[in-house]
């Protein structure tokens, strides 16, 4: 891309792609002779058309005495990356500067959103448990500033595979105490930590954290039930097929002895 192809390289490509066996030297000579013949014809005032390439014609412009009009197929092939675009009529009141500023602003906002949702995390930050990170979120006094992806990471940091669900629930309820205390310092009285309070607090902030606990158990249960049901159907089908085969064998055995 953006290279200048010399005639020697062009001849190499032509020799490689041509069906007839032609050497690179012959191909280079063909290229030079072709354009030499075109120059001779142009000097006579004629226009020259090469199939698939375009038309060369003489103009009276001293800076550009030969004009080239590319073949429509050639022009379409070169413009292929932008061929899907069409000229659009702009509405009244739309300014060019307004369009450019709009693009820049939306792009910058998009980048800012991505940076907010995916800040650079260190190992120390990833070692924190969910209670600490969510408590920090409360201290910022900005509700829902943490994006769902980050909340999901915090929940994953609890290592649900290593701990039992009851321990997880205790950890989470421990978090709910801290969360509830922070809230209670503002408006509500203190209450005992429970799973209900956890549910009520997580509804405000992290609905995804509930979703991450439950599906793992459900998936295991569903997979187990599916396997069990398939096994039962297979046994029934096998028994039926065995009975049919046994009956047929018995009938054949009886017919053989009767005859």
């Amino acid at each position: 891309m953006n290279n200048k192809i010399p005639v020697k390289k062009l001849a190499e490509k032509l020799a490689a792609q041509s069906e007839s066996d032609i050497s690179v030297e012959k191909a280079e000579m063909l290229i030079k002779e072709t354009f030499s013949a075109i120059i001779d014809k142009l000097a006579c005032g004629e226009s020259v058309t090469l199939n698939g390439l375009g038309t060369f014609s003489v103009s009276f412009n001293p800076n550009d005495p030969v004009t080239f009009t590319p073949d429509p197929e050639f022009a379409a092939e070169v413009n292929a990356p932008f061929s899907m675009f069409e000229a659009e009529e702009l509405n009244d009141g739309v300014d060019v500067e307004q369009l450019q500023s709009l693009d820049i602003e939306t792009g910058q906002n998009h980048i800012d959103d991505i940076n907010e949702c995916h800040p650079a995390t260190t190992d120390a930050e990833t070692d924190k448990d969910s209670s600490i990170t969510l408590e920090e979120n409360d201290n910022e006094s900005a509700p829902n500033t943490q994006c769902p992806a980050e909340q999901l990471n915090n929940v994953e940091n609890c290592n649900p595979t290593e701990t039992q669900p009851e321990e997880m629930l205790q950890n989470v309820s421990g978090f709910s105490v801290e969360k509830h205390n922070t809230d209670s310092s503002k408006s509500q009285p203190e209450s005992e930590p429970s799973s209900e309070s956890y549910m009520s607090t997580t509804e405000e902030h992290a609905d995804d954290s509930d979703i991450t606990y439950i599906p793992e158990d459900e998936e295991e249960f569903v997979e187990y039930t599916i396997v069990k049901s398939r096994f039962g159907i297979g046994v029934l089908v096998g028994l039926l097929i065995g009975l049919v085969i046994g009956a047929l064998a018995f009938i054949g055995y009886m017919i053989y002895f009767i005859n």
């Binding site: 953006n2 192809i5 007839s20 072709t34 142009l42 090469l50 060019v96």
Partner: protein
């Protein structure tokens, strides 16, 4: 003048039949097209350079109606004559 006339003229110089030269010229056109499609310029010594150029999107306003139209970006092939060719024609 077209490809067939050029191929008839070149067949003696190359030592190939006019049909073979004609197919070679079509291959030459294809090679130049492929190079330009890859945004590469093709330089022919003593003749000129085929240079693909990208033109950015522009807004064109019709002074009579006042309507503005957004013209999409395009890539076109420009031919720039070499100095030898210019001197030959301009003198």
């Amino acid at each position: 003048m077209n490809t067939e006339m050029i191929s008839a003229k070149l067949s003696e110089a190359i030592g190939k039949s006019p049909d073979e030269v004609s197919s070679l010229l079509e291959k030459l056109s294809t090679v130049i097209r492929d190079c330009c499609a890859d945004m590469d310029a093709v330089a022919i010594p003593g003749f000129g350079t085929f240079q693909p150029e990208k033109r950015n999107e522009t807004v064109v306003t019709d002074n009579k109606t006042g309507k503005s139209t957004l013209i999409p970006p395009t890539i076109t092939v420009k031919f720039k004559s070499s100095v030898v060719l210019r001197k030959k024609f301009v003198g």
